[in-house]
């Protein structure tokens, strides 16, 4: 790309920013756009953050994405990072119109990052943080060996999704304060402390004992945040390993809001680029190119669910229903009309995917998009089994529970009085992939160092899986 084009793009960016903020009410962080070659694009896409730590799984993702690109099977137009200021990456092979659409789309995302309530606790300097993690991880690799760190990461990454989305509440200082108070209270009680040996004191007050190995489980269960629980209470982890757990945890805290808002976030970015581009002064040819691109982005994928499509359709519908409410809506809900934009801005601020679908996926939309529930019948045919809109909506919402992962909690960190770990799968009607569950238990064993148990449901009956470091067992 020659400098002239960069200059043009800069001008277009200013224009798009102007439309987005003054005409559409968007309020994004400032954005740095960077034009990059495909290899860099796919690299950032596969790591989800630039400068992140090294692991083979990223290499695998990178290889796959790049291959898809090389074969012309798929293409990423844009990557955008939630930070302040935000960073967005544009593919150097994009045409000018593609870039304009992408810039408009990016502003939608960045506005969403800044204003959606689920993102309010994300670290806006995560790029720096991730780079620091990468450096620490590299130091550990240097000190303990690459293989050792890699294998440990394999284990932590196996459970990385099992963190608490509301973890920031735990971090509140109130908790710490209470503990400190309790400890002081205990100290007062120990009037004859000076008569006891250090060991005896340690027995009474575990926190006096600094040694990791005698660290007693806090036993604050149930605990949904398995990574946190293990980091805090595992009898076997060394300090550097706990640090890695903490780093992964921090990165997941950053990513989870994105996992909770795929549909609404993409929907918002898509409706934003559509409305912005409508306000731009495009030539007929440019407009045609844009229309084609846009149609591609928000097209339904038959038999699947395209989050861009679903989110876009719902926002479009909100705009319509609040701008031009029906007679019934005017009377029943007292909607005066003309409030479309306002309502959309409100939804982008307060909803996540689950509430967005619950509140705004209507019967008409379900019919219009021809949504259905399908499942495997007789182990053979994927068959449509439900079309009633409320059932379909409920199924869709249920599938997004816990961002699509099974809900698993620690319910005992001192099981059998033997520091064994007991996990409970909160069964919601769908069974676990047993092979995967077994392998994951092996990883958890590695992190916990003692027997691990997982209670789940198979064929409508309770089943407890055990792993003792060498063998699996079930009963």
């Amino acid at each position: 790309m020659i400098d002239k084009e960069v200059k043009e793009l800069e001008e277009a960016t200013d224009q798009i920013w102007e439309i987005a903020t003054s005409k559409l009410g968007l309020d994004p962080f400032p954005v740095h756009f960077e034009i990059v070659p495909a290899t860099v694009m796919y690299e950032i896409g596969s790591y989800a953050l630039p400068g992140r730590y090294s692991h083979w799984t990223f290499g695998k993702a990178y290889h796959r994405m790049k291959m898809m690109y090389d074969f012309g099977l798929s293409k990423i137009y844009e990557v955008v990072i939630n930070s302040n200021p935000s960073y967005a990456f544009l593919l150097e092979t994009n045409s000018p119109i593609q870039n304009k659409l992408v810039i408009a789309h990016v502003l939608g995302h960045v506005d969403f990052f800044k204003n959606n309530v689920y993102f309010s606790h994300t670290n806006r300097r995560m790029v720096d943080e991730a780079a620091m993690h990468a450096r620490r991880m590299a130091e550990y690799e240097f000190e303990y060996g690459r293989k050792v760190v890699e294998e440990f990461l394999d284990a932590v990454l196996a459970i990385e999704e099992h963190v608490d989305p509301n973890f920031f509440i735990k971090k509140q200082p109130k908790d710490e304060g209470k503990k400190e108070k309790e400890r002081k209270k205990r100290r007062v009680e120990g009037r004859y402390d000076d008569l006891m040996t250090e060991e005896e004191l340690a027995l009474r007050d575990p926190e006096r004992a600094g040694d990791d190995r005698s660290r007693k489980p806090s036993l604050e269960v149930p605990e949904k945040d398995i990574v946190y629980f293990i980091m805090k209470n595992s009898p076997v982890l060394e300090d550097w390993q706990r640090d890695i757990c903490a780093m992964i945890h921090e990165e997941m805290e950053y990513f989870i809001p994105q996992m909770q808002t795929k549909i609404i976030n993409e929907g918002w970015a898509s409706i934003s680029h559509a409305r912005i581009m409508r306000e731009m002064d495009l030539s007929t040819n440019d407009y045609l190119e844009f229309a084609e691109l846009h149609a591609g982005v928000v097209s339904p994928h038959k038999g699947q669910l395209n989050p861009y499509y679903l989110g876009y359709k719902i926002f479009e519908d909100i705009e319509k229903r609040w701008d031009n409410p029906s007679e019934e809506e005017r009377e029943k809900f007292g909607r005066p009309g003309g409030e479309g934009r306002e309502k959309m801005l409100e939804a982008r601020e307060t909803e996540n995917d689950i509430s967005f679908l619950r509140n705004y996926l209507t019967e008409e939309l379900c019919e219009d998009m021809d949504l259905f529930v399908y499942e495997l019948v007789d182990d053979e045919d994927w068959t449509i089994t439900e079309k009633r809109w409320e059932k379909v909506r409920n199924q869709l919402v249920a599938n997004m529970n816990n961002f699509g992962f099974p809900y698993i909690e620690v319910i005992d960190g001192d099981y059998d009085g033997n520091r064994e770990l007991y996990l409970m799968h909160r069964y919601e009607g769908v069974e676990l992939d047993m092979k995967y569950a077994r392998k994951t238990l092996e990883y958890i064993y590695k992190l916990w160092g003692r027997d691990v148990h997982l209670e789940t449901v198979v064929d409508e009956e309770s089943l407890v899986m055990h792993y003792d470091g060498s063998e699996h067992d079930e009963d």
Binding site: E34, K60, H301, K302, G303, Y374, D379, V430, M434, T440
Partner: protein
């Protein structure tokens, strides 16, 4: 707000981690040799150098739902109704680009180079009783560049060495290691030697039972075994000939194609194959000149009355050949409990005189092919 364009040409993070992934793939391949050895895409590769094999241990395991037991939501074209079938198990649903979570992409498919796999497999294999036969067999002349001299013809100038000499001379003279003007003394030439190469030869006599009880699976096992055996022998001998003999109650020499594909019928008279093998050896492959490796695959269901004769001829084979291998193939998935007592393997193990040169293995599963190869070509006797 700004738009920037920087130089990213030194950015290599993705490639570096891709290398880490590749390393994992190689490790996984090593660990999975057992299943890779008998993987269809390799055995049926038809001369392709690279094939794809599934590597299961590279999955990123997590707690996840059983995809097949879950209800999913999709979009239709406007006319769907309850009862419509939108896909078949194993083929996935729809063709949209977002199909990454579909089963089928469940395990990682690694593209592997057959030669590389072969190297890994052969690392552990040795050729038992390899003998330096056939010195007087085919002689071939080859030219090899083996020496460097200060004089020679310009066409054989060794440029790399000449440049090195030049740098060395300048370093000696000026103290700076750099390239300068050439002098005649810098120049180095390659010269060659004529070598007479002695070629050694091996012949594999592949025998297979095609009686009624030898089904698809058993033939496949035999085929994967022969595939690797021939490849392995080719690394040790210049020339490997294979003779295919199939037999039921009678034995016949057949072309390769037919050997692996022909239908099965009739009973089993093992001695017929051994007799034919001995005849062919006598006629075409004198043991003086040839390393001979007869291998026989059967399900061991020999006619009882033929057992004595089979043992006698097998003895004769072990006496003539480098190594006589016998593989008994069980039913797919069947374990040892099904072993019939009259099976040939136990008889051979009891009664063959020359056990040294006999190897018998039992194969019940695809995964057993690799251990069997190791058994046949494991360390034994004196190594050469």
């Amino acid at each position: 707000m700004s738009v920037q364009r920087n130089d990213w040409s030194l950015q290599r993070k993705g490639q570096i981690d891709q290398e880490r992934h590749k390393e994992r793939v190689r490790e996984a391949i090593k660990k999975n040799l057992g299943s890779i050895v008998s993987n269809e895409s390799i055995i049926l590769s038809d001369g392709r150098r690279k094939v794809k094999v599934p590597i299961r241990s590279l999955d990123e395991y997590k707690f996840r739902f059983d995809y097949r037991k879950k209800k999913h939501v999709g979009t239709g074209d406007g006319n769907t109704k309850v009862g419509d079938i939108i896909g078949h198990e194993g083929q996935g649903v729809g063709h949209g680009p977002g199909g990454g979570d579909q089963p089928g992409s469940e395990y990682f498919e690694a593209e592997v180079d057959i030669d590389e796999i072969a190297k890994l497999i052969f690392e552990d294999l040795h050729l038992p009783y390899l003998e330096d036969k056939a010195k007087q067999a085919v002689q071939s002349k080859t030219t090899r560049f083996t020496e460097i001299r200060r004089a020679g013809i310009m066409a054989n100038l060794d440029k790399r060495r000449s440049i090195l000499e030049n740098i060395k001379r300048h370093a000696r003279a000026t103290g700076r290691a750099e390239l300068g003007r050439f002098k005649k003394e810098d120049l180095r030439y390659k010269t060659w030697e004529e070598e007479i190469k002695y070629e050694s030869n091996a012949v594999v006599i592949a025998m297979m039972d095609i009686s009624g009880s030898m089904g698809e699976f058993k033939k496949y096992i035999a085929r994967s075994f022969y595939f690797w055996m021939v490849r392995f022998l080719k690394t040790k001998y210049d020339q490997v000939k294979i003779v295919f003999i199939s037999h039921h109650t009678e034995a016949k020499e057949v072309p390769e194609q037919q050997f692996f594909t022909q239908g099965e019928s009739g009973g089993t008279v093992v001695s017929s194959a051994y007799r034919l093998a001995l005849d062919i050896i006598a006629e075409r492959f004198p043991p003086r000149d040839w390393n001979i490796y007869p291998f026989h695959f059967s399900d061991g269901d020999n006619y009882y009355s033929d057992n004595d004769e089979a043992v006698r001829l097998a003895d004769e084979l072990t006496g003539t050949c480098n190594l006589f291998g016998y593989g008994e193939i069980g039913e797919e998935g069947a374990s040892s409990y099904r072993r019939s007592s009259g099976a040939l393997l136990s008889i051979f193990k009891d009664r063959l005189a020359n056990q040294e040169r006999f190897v018998g293995v039992r194969i019940d599963d695809k995964e057993d092919v690799y251990p069997a190869l190791k058994e046949f070509f494991g360390k034994r006797g004196e190594e050469v």
